[in-house]
C-alpha cells in the first residue's frame, strides 16, 4: 500500500484547498494520472499520481483545507505493507528566490525622500512591502541595498530598528503612491474624531468575555452601514408619530380581494399608503426634496419615485417605484410584488435600486407598535408603518373597535419643521381613514 502525502507546495505554503478530485475510491489509475487539484493563493495545481494502482482511500472533500504532509490518498500498488514515500517526487531545488535577496549588505540602507518626491515607487517584493506595513515603515523612503536598488527585508528591519540615519523628512502625502499609503474604505484603526465629545475608541477584546465569531462587513451589509452612518451623522432626524384608522380601507381592500379572487396578487395596504403619501408630498414638497450641504441649497424634486424597503436574505434592499404618482393602485400593487420578489431573489436591476425621492418602510408583517426609521440619505423623509391591528378607540363618546395603523414620519429638520410633519401626517391619516376621498383624488 502506498501512502501519498500532500507534497511541498513551495514558498512556505503549508496548506491548500481541495478544488477537485479526479479519482474516487476503487478507481484503477496509472502513474502520472491526475489525482487532485488544490489551490494555494491564486495558483490552481493539478497533482498527478506518483504510482499506479487502485485507489483505496481519499482524504478531504471539495472545499476542505489539506495540510502539506497529510496522507491524502492511499493506493494499493501491490507493494505490500504501508510505505511512506521517502521524498516528494517533484520536490524542486530552491535555486532562486523571486526577488533575489542578497546576503546582508555591507552598507546600511539609506533613507531619503528623493524617490518619493519623484512619485515613483521603490522596487520591492510584496512580502517586503507587507513586512514594512507590519513594522510601520514607509517603504517609499528607503533606498534599498538589493539589486537595482531593490528594498530588501533586511533594509526594512534596519529602518524599523532605527539603525540608519533618521533624517527622514515628512513624506508628502500627494506624492506617495505605495500601498502603505493606499486609501482605505473602512477605518480599521482608531481615528481621532473632529467632533467634540465623539470618541472613536478601539473595540474591546470581546473574546476575553466569551466565545465570539467574526464576520467581515461586506456587500449589502457594508453599503447599509455606510448609508445609515451618513444619514444619522448628517441629517438631524425628527420623528412624528400617529395612528391612522384604516378600518374602512381594510374593509374595502378585503372586499376588492374577494372580488378579484383568482385575478392576480392580493391588494395590501401599501399601494394605498403610497397614494396617500404622494398626495401629501405634493402638498408638502419639502419631504420630497434633498438638501445640498455644500451649496446650501434645497433641491425640490418634481417627480415621485417611492422606495419600498424590503427585508431580504442579503440584507435591507430598497427597490424604487419610478413615477409612482402615474400608476394606479393595481399597477402599484403589481410593481411592489415584482420588485420585492426580485430583491429577495437577487434578481433586480441596479436601475430599480436607485433614484428614490421618498421611502416607505413597513415592519407590519413582522410586528411592532411603532418605530423611528432612519432616513434613506440623501432623501429628506421616510415613512414607517407598523402592524395594523384592532384596538379600542373612542368615537362619538363611545368605545369602539377600529383597525389602527401606526405610522411614523422621520424627517430632516433642516428642511422641514415639526408642524409641517404633523400636517403631512394628518393628511396621510385623513386619506387612509377615508378611502373614498383617496380614490377620488387618484
Amino acid at each position: 500500500m502506498y501512502e501519498f502525502k500532500l507534497p511541498d507546495l513551495g514558498e512556505g505554503i503549508h496548506e491548500g484547498e481541495v478544488l477537485k478530485w479526479h479519482v474516487k475510491v476503487g478507481d484503477t489509475i496509472k502513474e502520472d494520472d491526475p489525482l487532485i487539484e488544490v489551490e494555494t493563493d491564486k495558483a490552481a495545481v493539478t497533482i498527478p499520481s506518483p504510482r499506479g494502482g487502485i485507489i483505496m482511500t481519499l482524504k478531504g472533500a471539495v472545499g476542505d483545507i489539506l495540510n502539506v504532509g497529510d496522507v491524502i490518498v492511499t493506493i494499493e500498488d501491490g507493494s505490500g505493507a504501508s510505505v511512506a514515500p521517502a521524498e516528494v517526487p517533484t520536490k524542486t531545488e530552491p535555486i532562486e528566490t523571486p526577488v533575489k535577496v542578497e546576503t546582508p549588505a555591507p552598507i546600511a540602507p539609506t533613507v531619503e525622500t528623493l524617490e518619493v518626491a519623484s512619485g515613483r515607487p521603490v522596487p520591492a517584493a510584496p512580502a517586503t512591502r507587507r513586512l514594512a506595513r507590519e513594522l510601520g515603515v514607509n517603504i517609499n523612503i528607503i533606498k534599498g541595498t538589493g539589486p537595482a536598488g531593490r528594498v530588501t527585508p533586511e533594509d526594512v528591519k534596519l529602518v524599523a530598528s532605527g539603525e540608519v540615519p533618521t533624517t527622514i523628512e515628512p513624506v508628502k502625502k500627494e506624492a506617495a503612491t505605495e500601498s502603505d499609503s493606499c486609501p482605505i474604505a473602512v477605518t480599521k484603526t482608531p481615528a481621532m474624531s473632529a467632533i467634540p465629545f465623539l470618541d472613536l475608541d478601539p473595540m474591546p477584546d470581546f473574546a476575553k468575555e466569551g466565545p465570539i465569531e467574526i464576520e467581515k462587513l461586506r456587500s449589502i451589509r457594508r453599503k447599509v452601514a455606510h448609508k445609515m452612518t451618513t444619514s444619522k451623522i448628517l441629517i438631524p432626524h425628527v420623528v412624528h408619530m400617529d395612528e391612522a384608522d384604516v378600518t374602512e380601507l381594510d374593509k374595502f381592500r378585503r372586499e376588492e380581494n374577494a372580488r378579484r379572487e383568482g385575478r392576480g396578487g392580493k391588494l395590501t395596504l401599501l399601494p394605498f399608503v403610497i397614494k396617500a403619501v404622494i398626495a401629501g408630498l405634493k402638498e408638502y414638497p419639502a419631504f420630497n426634496a434633498s438638501i445640498d450641504p455644500f451649496k446650501e441649497e434645497i433641491i425640490y424634486k418634481k417627480y415621485y419615485n417611492v422606495g419600498v424597503a424590503v427585508d431580504s436574505d442579503r440584507g435591507l434592499i430598497v427597490p424604487v417605484i419610478k413615477n409612482a404618482d402615474q400608476k394606479s393602485i393595481i399597477q402599484l400593487s403589481d410593481k411592489i410584488v415584482e420588485l420585492a420578489e426580485g430583491a429577495r431573489d437577487g434578481n433586480i436591476n441596479v436601475a430599480d435600486l436607485s433614484g428614490g425621492t421618498f421611502t416607505i418602510t413597513n415592519i407590519g408583517p413582522i410586528g411592532g407598535t411603532g418605530f423611528a426609521a432612519a432616513i434613506n440619505y440623501p432623501e429628506a423623509a421616510i415613512l414607517g408603518l407598523a402592524r395594523a391591528q384592532d384596538k379600542p378607540v373612542v368615537r362619538n363618546g363611545e368605545i369602539v373597535i377600529r383597525k389602527m395603523l401606526p405610522i411614523s414620519l422621520s424627517f430632516d429638520h433642516r428642511i422641514a419643521d415639526g408642524a409641517d410633519a404633523a400636517r403631512m401626517v394628518s393628511g396621510i391619516i385623513k386619506r387612509l381613514s377615508d378611502p373614498y376621498t383617496l380614490l377620488l383624488e387618484i
Partner: protein, 225 residues
C-alpha cells in the same frame, strides 16, 4: 473519474470553460518551449477562478438577465469581469513539478512590469500576491494553473474597464489583498496610464512578440533536481 466540484453543472448549466489560451498550452506541450500571446477580449464576460464558488462570488442571476457569459478559467483566484477595455497577456512555460508558484508569480509579474516600463508606462508595482498596482489601485490581476508539465500564467491589464459591471456582477470578494483595505470595486480598480486599449496592445505586442522575450521567459524556468 471526477468526483465533484464546487460548481454544480445542474445549477449553473451555462458556465463554460475558458479555453482561449488552450492553443498556447498545446504549443508548449508539443515544443517544450515558452509561448505567450497578447489579446483583447471581444466580449464582456464574467470569469470564475478554478476554485470559485459561483453562488458566492458572482451574481449569476444578473449575469443571466444581461446575457453575459460566465466562464471558468483553469487558474486560481477569485471571479473577475473581462471586457473590451482589458488586454490579456498569457504565458505558458514548460515546467516540471508544481512548486515555486510564488516565485513564478513574482518573476513573471516583475518581467511584465519591466516591459510596461520599457513602453513608457512607469510607476506600476506588484502588491498582494500578484496584482499590478498603479497609484494604489489595481490595474492588473493574474492567476496560475500548474500541471505536471506546464505552468499557465495569465494576467489581465485594465485600460478602460467597465467598473460598473464589476459592481453589478461581483459581490465583494471572499478574499482580498491587504492593500485593498476593504475598498469597493470602483474604489479599488484603476487604469493603466495609456491612451487606449489599442495603443497598449500594439506596444505590448511589438515588445513581447520577439525571440528575446521568449528567451527571457525560458530563463525563468526552475529546473528540478
Amino acid at each position: 473519474m471526477e468526483i465533484t466540484s464546487k460548481i454544480s453543472k445542474e445549477k449553473y448549466l451555462k458556465i463554460r470553460d475558458y479555453d482561449y489560451d488552450n492553443d498556447l498550452i498545446e504549443v508548449v506541450k508539443r515544443t517544450r518551449k515558452p509561448a505567450l500571446k497578447v489579446y483583447q477580449p471581444m466580449e464582456t464576460a464574467v470569469i470564475l477562478g478554478r476554485g470559485s464558488n459561483p453562488g458566492k462570488e458572482i451574481d449569476y442571476a444578473v449575469c443571466d438577465i444581461d446575457n453575459t457569459p460566465v466562464y471558468q478559467r483553469s487558474g486560481g483566484g477569485c471571479a473577475v469581469v473581462l471586457d473590451k477595455g482589458n488586454i490579456i497577456v498569457s504565458i505558458v512555460l514548460p515546467t516540471e513539478g508544481f512548486s515555486n508558484n510564488r516565485i513564478y508569480f513574482d518573476k513573471l509579474s516583475q518581467w511584465l512590469i519591466g516591459k510596461l516600463d520599457e513602453i513608457g508606462i512607469k510607476g506600476v508595482y506588484q502588491d498582494g500576491i500578484s496584482d499590478l498596482v498603479y497609484n494604489c489601485k489595481k490595474v492588473g490581476g493574474s492567476s496560475i494553473q500548474r500541471t505536471k508539465d506546464y505552468l499557465y500564467y495569465s494576467t489581465t491589464l485594465l485600460v478602460e474597464p467597465e467598473v460598473h459591471l464589476m459592481e453589478r456582477y461581483l459581490p465583494h470578494p471572499p478574499r482580498e489583498p491587504e492593500y485593498r483595505n476593504g475598498r469597493s470595486h470602483s474604489e479599488f480598480v484603476g487604469t493603466l496610464p495609456v491612451n487606449s486599449v489599442k495603443e497598449l496592445a500594439q506596444n505590448l505586442r511589438s515588445k513581447l512578440d520577439s525571440k528575446k522575450a521568449i528567451e527571457e521567459l525560458g530563463g525563468f524556468i526552475i529546473i528540478n533536481k
